[in-house]
Structure formats: structure tokens, C-alpha cells
Amino acid sequence: MPKVSMTVNGKRVSADVEGRTLLVQFLREHQRLTGTHVGCDTSQCGACVVHVDGKAIKACTNLALSCEGANVTTIEGLANGTELHPMQAAFRTHHGLQCGFCTPGMIMAAIDMVNRLGYDLSEETIRHELEGNICRCTGYHNIVKAIQAGAAAMGGLKVAAE
């Protein structure tokens, strides 16, 4: 079996994997990072979204081997202890989750949205950009509000840091 190495949430990890091992399997089964979920097998639902080298990708349709040497961030890598990432905090404040299953993918997709499009996101932009993430519980109403607030909070932090 080939060996694969990458950095996950700041930690160097490696494992021997079957060639067909998906990134999501590598994260869930080899690294025991079960926050990244599998909701479908056709790249549609987005429950498996993680960041690879700073970009959101669907971990259910990427081979672990294709991430050799990459820098991977999962939902477990966002908070600093009990100090939440502003996007995580916004999902909680705005009740942007119910069963919680789609939530890690939503949060990872939302942060990527901010990274690409900035801190001032319109409702229309957010709804359009959520094309690749399905939620069955919330009707998206509060997810949209959470992302808008989370984006603004990320902007506020950036301003404060400058």
C-alpha cells in the first residue's frame, strides 16, 4: 500500500492507504477526525467540505493520495480551544444549525466564501454560493444570516488586527 503524508490542522501525519482511499476516509478512519461527514457520494451535499491548501474542496471525491504534501484544515482545526472561529460562533448565535450533520461542511464552505468574496456578503450572493451545500433542517434562512454575520465578524477581526 502506498504511503501518504500531509499536514492536517497543523500536524504532520502519514499513513499507508489503499490507492482507492478517499480523503474523507483518510480523515475519518485514519486520523479519527469524524467532524467531516459523508452525506452523499456524488459531490452534491457538501457535508464533507474541508480546506486543502486554503481552498474548499469536497473530501468525498478526492483521493487521499492526491493530497500528498497538502495542508488540510478540517472543522476540528478552526477553534482555538474553547475560543470559536467567528464563523462557528455566528452559526451558534444565529441558530444556523439543527441536527448538525451538514454544519461542518457549511462552516468550511462559508469561510471559503469569505476568503474569496470578502466580508460584506449579500443574501443573494450567499444563497448562490451555497449551491454545493444541502441542509434539510433549517430551510437555509438562519444559515444565510449566520454566514452574513460570520463574514462581517471575520472582517472586524481583520480590521482589529491591522
Binding site: H37, V38, C40, L97, F101, G139
Partner: protein, 787 residues
Amino acid sequence: MAGTGIGARVMRKEDFRFITGKGNYTDDINRPGQAHAYFLRSPHAHAKIRKIDTAKAAAMPGVVAIFTGADIEADKVGGLICGWMIHSKDGTPMKAGAHPALAVGKVRYVGDHVAVVIAETLAEARDAAEAILVDYEPLKPVVDLASATKKGSPVIHDAAPDNQVYDWHLGDEAAVKAAFKKAKHVTKIDLVNNRLIPNAMEPRAAIGDYNSGEEAFTLYTTSQNPHVARLVLSAFIGIAPEHKLRVIAPDVGGGFGSKIFIYAEETICVWAAKKVGRPVKWVADRTEEFLAIAHGRDHLTHAEMAIDENGRILGLHVKTRANLGAYLSTFASSVPTYLYVPLLSGQYNIPAIYGEVEAVYTNTAPVDAYRGAGRPEATFVIERLMEVAARELGMDPAAFRKKNFIKSFPHQTPVIMCYDTGDYNASLAKAMEIHDVKGFARRKRESAKAGKLRGLGYSAYIEACGIAPSAAVGSLGAGVGLWESAEVRVNPVGTVEVLTGSHSHGQGHETTFAQLVAGRLGIPIENVAIVHGDTDKVQMGMGTYGSRSGAVGMSAIVKALDKVEAKAKKVASFVLEAAEADIDFKDGKFSVKGTDKSIDFASVALQAYVAHKFTGEQLEPGLKEGAFYDPTNFTFPSGVHIAEVEIDPDTGVTTIAKWTAVDDFGVIINPMIVEGQVHGGIAQGIGQALLEGAVYDANGQLLTASYMDYAMPRADDLPSFRVDHTTTPCLSNPLGIKGCGEAGAIAAPAAVMNAITDALGHENIAMPATPQAVWQAAQAGLARAAE
């Protein structure tokens, strides 16, 4: 305490683990030494199994065992059951075909379970399943609902030679006939309630584990009601007696009804764990979910309403054919009967109602409860009828509704239900004001200028929640009682654990239940933990569905809290050296009337356990009380939703331009959570109206078996919703709660279709109103207008 008690928008206690990736869903659990199960499923809708050859597959790498229906039979594993008996008009019991967990002799739908492969890894199990040789003799399938019982149709179950499960009725046929004779106007409609696939985001999963030393099983499963699962697996399927079977439903990623039922897969996992001497894990992929989870709705209905010369409803006659799929799922029989016809009175005073329901088998996945279960189907019938009738009579649809609203309570309908309370005018008036219905004509003109068709539709729904008084449902055929249990355990330091038979799979019980307890006992909400979903911790419970957790589950907690308070007062009376009758309890403090002597709740808890201030003869030590609560009536949430749509006749695209919901849920524990429930329900209802529909081809192949083929509502299909409330507290439970879980899904389909037909100017369109269907309907309407 004001900040966290009943009515406060408390942020959810459970969220931290979900937003940090620390949830504990069934697929996140792994047992030492576990093997993986993969189910070989039928590729045919209907076929005889001549032979299954597993020899080659069994020799493949990593294979631990392969089981088929023959092994199930040899071990005398009982079949899956349907727990609600329905009798036909002629008094005969429903015709329930056998439902083995692995097919015996015959497969009856695409996705039916033929064999299970257990292997070291899932990939190896999958590979081996492909090597199993099954010799099928394909039979003609029954797919079309309308013609399923036609003479000469293939027979799906020998027990039901004409494919009819039952032919049931409710109501007074003679009274309805008489009402139609007197009618000045009769409105008739034919409706399709499209078949839906629930699609909770977490696919179903199960791990069976067997401890040979204890001869005891554990099942980890994605269940909305782990105790019912244990009961069925024990008493009917015969896996193990209840004290040797523990069922754990940890974090569950949505249910919407589909995780109520006891399925083949978890049955096989727990049974096979003993056979192979290792834990057995199964996780559905999304296509398996589409193929084999219980689907929802799927009705064909003809309905007629009799109306007098003053625009008052005289009677209602509804005839429905319901598709129950290839086997009777756990509660399938109750959905198109007692959860449907008793709701047909809606919010209206209808003196005579007669409902007839013929349920049939087809070679499709089993159909059972999906969010609302029967009640959305009823609301769709009555609310489409109201709108069409108003249009035919030339009346304003709101005025027609108002004229027929029930105005005094209690109100006994002609179909079982007795509504305790409500104010239907209040929700209609508030919804119309918030929605600015007055401004609709102007908005319609503006749309017309842009070449768009604009329409407005109402849905004044009712539902029966707080399921349900045990004796009442028992008399209607239910195999179980529908009470709920609670146990309140006060620890010596004054923290509290509440064990509940309700199960949260997104509803936020860890927060709302804690709000009740913290408010009542006057302790910080952080000091309250809610325990659920484990049959070894919670003794017995009936689970969560039918918006019963607030009305029934929390009522049980109230009963247990009453007992805790009574006991704590006794303890306080010894500590404070006062008569028990002189002890007051308020804001977390026990005090002696007319004095400044008091003691806080935590100190009383400690005194209850150290037991130094009273003797064993005077008082039992400890502070722990349990209660069972059996409701005395259903609860009747109601409300008005107004949908406003804009249609582009050139593309057929329907945009939800505006949505207003005004619901009466009685007393609300946490408005933030309730609004979230409403949003999600509306989204599912809009999904049914505009996007979703399970499609089988003539051979019984499911064409919509992935997210690329089944249109789930996505963020840009939906608007933001305006959600508000009116309140008439429920009279039949101690908290005045009615329930909110299904409201949106019940109200929305009729509101959307009433708006679309208003925009189109004719009624000739069915759900889902996809762009293609709307385009065709719009073009037909335009052509008619041009003639």
C-alpha cells in the same frame, strides 16, 4: 433566571459539539474488532429468487460471512412488523404480507435486501457482493398507483391477491350524501400528492455488538425512538429479550419520520453480530437511502365539497388511493387513515365529512410517515378545495375561509377530533397584515409590466400533535401506547440530570428541556443535563415524532418536577424546622411563610442525600423522581401561511417572492428554536410543491436515486421567511404547548399551489410544479386567454 426560562431565546447547549466537529453520530462510532456489512440489493422490482450462489464471493479476500434469507429462516428471526391494525369497511383486517429482513423466495422492489456480506473492510464487502450469483426469474412489476388493483395485475403478496391492503372509511356517508343533496354549489378536484424521499442529511447507520460473556446485545442506530426499536427487535423479531438488548441512538442527523421505523439493516447487524462473533457496522450510502428508506406521501385523491347559497360548507367527501409500497413499514397503515381523514375538517365548521381510503401494494419502496404524515396530505386537500371553491364562487379566498372558520371551542368535528382551543381569525388577520395583502394588486401589476405572472395563495392549516392519548389510539388500532416518561435526578450538589424518552435529532431538547427545568427549580441552565437515546439509561420511552416532545415529553418532565418539588419541600421542612405546609418554593429558594428563614435548592439537595436532619422513619433519603405522562387529547397547532409567487411564463421558473407564516403553537419555550422548525418545515413543503418527486419508471427502477436526479431545495431556491405567532395556550397539557415541528411542511404545499394557480388563472397543474410543468401550464393558460 429570567434569561433562560420558558420563552427565552436561549442559544443551544448542544451547538458547541456540532460546530467544532465533536458530534457523535452512529458512523463516528467504531467498536473494537468490528467488521463491515454491505447489502446486496435487488436490481429487479419484482422477481422470484431461484437460487443464490455465494461460494465464489465467500472465498474472496476479507470476507467473514455471507447471509441470505435462508439463514434468517433457519434462525427463526421474525419478520419486520407493521404496528397499527386497520380494518376495512367490511370488517376484515388489513392484508399484511410477510416482510423478512432478507428476502425469502421473492424480491418486491428495487433495493430489497437479498444478501448481506460481512467483511474486514467495506470495500471488501462490496467487492464480494458483486461476486454473488443470484438467479432471478423476473416478474411483471406493479408500479402505477392508479392501476395497481386492476384485475389481472401481478400479485405482490399472496396475502393480498388484488394488491389491496385495506379499503377503509371514516365518517357518516349518509349525512354527507344528504349534505350534497342540499348543496347550491359543489366544488370538485382531483389531486396528486407526490411521492417524496425524506433525505435527512445523515444516512441511516447501525452497529450491532454482542457480548458473549453477558449474552447481551448492543445496537447503535440512527433512531428517533430507540425504545420502540428495542421493543420491536425483542418482542416481535426475537433478537433478544429486552433486558439483554441495549439500543443507543446517539446524535442523529435529522429524521423527519424516516428514522422512526425498524428496518432490515439494523435488524441484520444486531443479529449477525452474534453469528460472526464480532461487531458489525453498516452505513448507508445516499443511493441506498433513496432506494430503501421509507418514502412519504403518494396519494391520488378525488374530493368534493358541498356549499350552500350563503357560502357555507355543508359537507365533504374525499376518496383517496394511497401507495404503501412493497411491504407495510412500521406505522405505514396509520398514515393515510387516522393521521389523514380526521384532519380533513381543517379550521372549518363542516357538519358532515366522509373519507374513503384504499391502500395498495406496489413494487416500490415502502411508504410511511414523513414530516407531518397524513396531515400535510389532509391540509393539501382541504386548502386546495377552499381556494378553488372561493374562485368558483367569486369570493375572496380569505373571506370564504373566514366565513367557515370554527369560532367556538371546544369543537367536535365529525371525524374524531375535538379541538380544544384556537383563534383562526386572529392568525389570518395578522398574516394578511404582515404580508401586506392589500398591496398585492399593485405588486401584481408591477410584475405584469415586467412580463411576469404573480399569484397569492393561502393555507390555513391545522394539525393534530402531541401524539397521543394511549387509550384513544389503542381503540383505533395502535399496537402501543403513546405516553412519555421522564426521570429527574437531583445530584447532591444540586445539579440535575433529566432522563427523557423523547429523542432529539435536531430539535434542541438539550436546551428547551433544560430551560423548563432550570426555570422551575431556579438553578443555572448549565447545571441541567438532558439524557436521552440510550435504553440502558432511560428506562422506557416512545421517542420523537408527531411534535410530541414538547406537549408529551415535557409534560412528563413537569410531572416529575412536581414530585421533586414536593419531596424537596419535605426535606426543607426538616432543615428549616417548620411545618411542610408552611414551606414556599420560589426562584430556587425554599422559605418558611412569614419568616426570613430560607434555604436554596442546592442545599436542600445536599440535605436530601446526607440525611442528617430526618430519620429513615420520617423520610426516605435522596431526591429522584420519575413520571409517565399520558396526554388526554391531541394538541391542535394551527396557522395561516401566505405564499406569493412570481412566474416567468417564458421559462416556467417560479420564484417565491414573499412568504408570511403566522402560527399558533400555544406556549413557546424557545422562539429561536421554534422559528427554525418553521423555516425548515416550509422549505420541505416548498420542496414538495416545486422540486421534489420520486420517479419510478414502468419497470420499477427508481430514476431519482441521487442528489443529481432528486431535486432537493437549495439555498437559492428559497426566500427568507417572515415568521410570526398568535397564541392560544393548549388546554390539555400543563405547559400549554401545542407543537411546531411539522407546521411548515403541512402548510406550505397548498399555499404554493394556490399561489401558482392564482398566477396561472387555472387549476390544471400538479406537484412538483417544475419549470417544465409551469411553462406548459402557463403557455396553455396564455393560449386560452388569447382565444
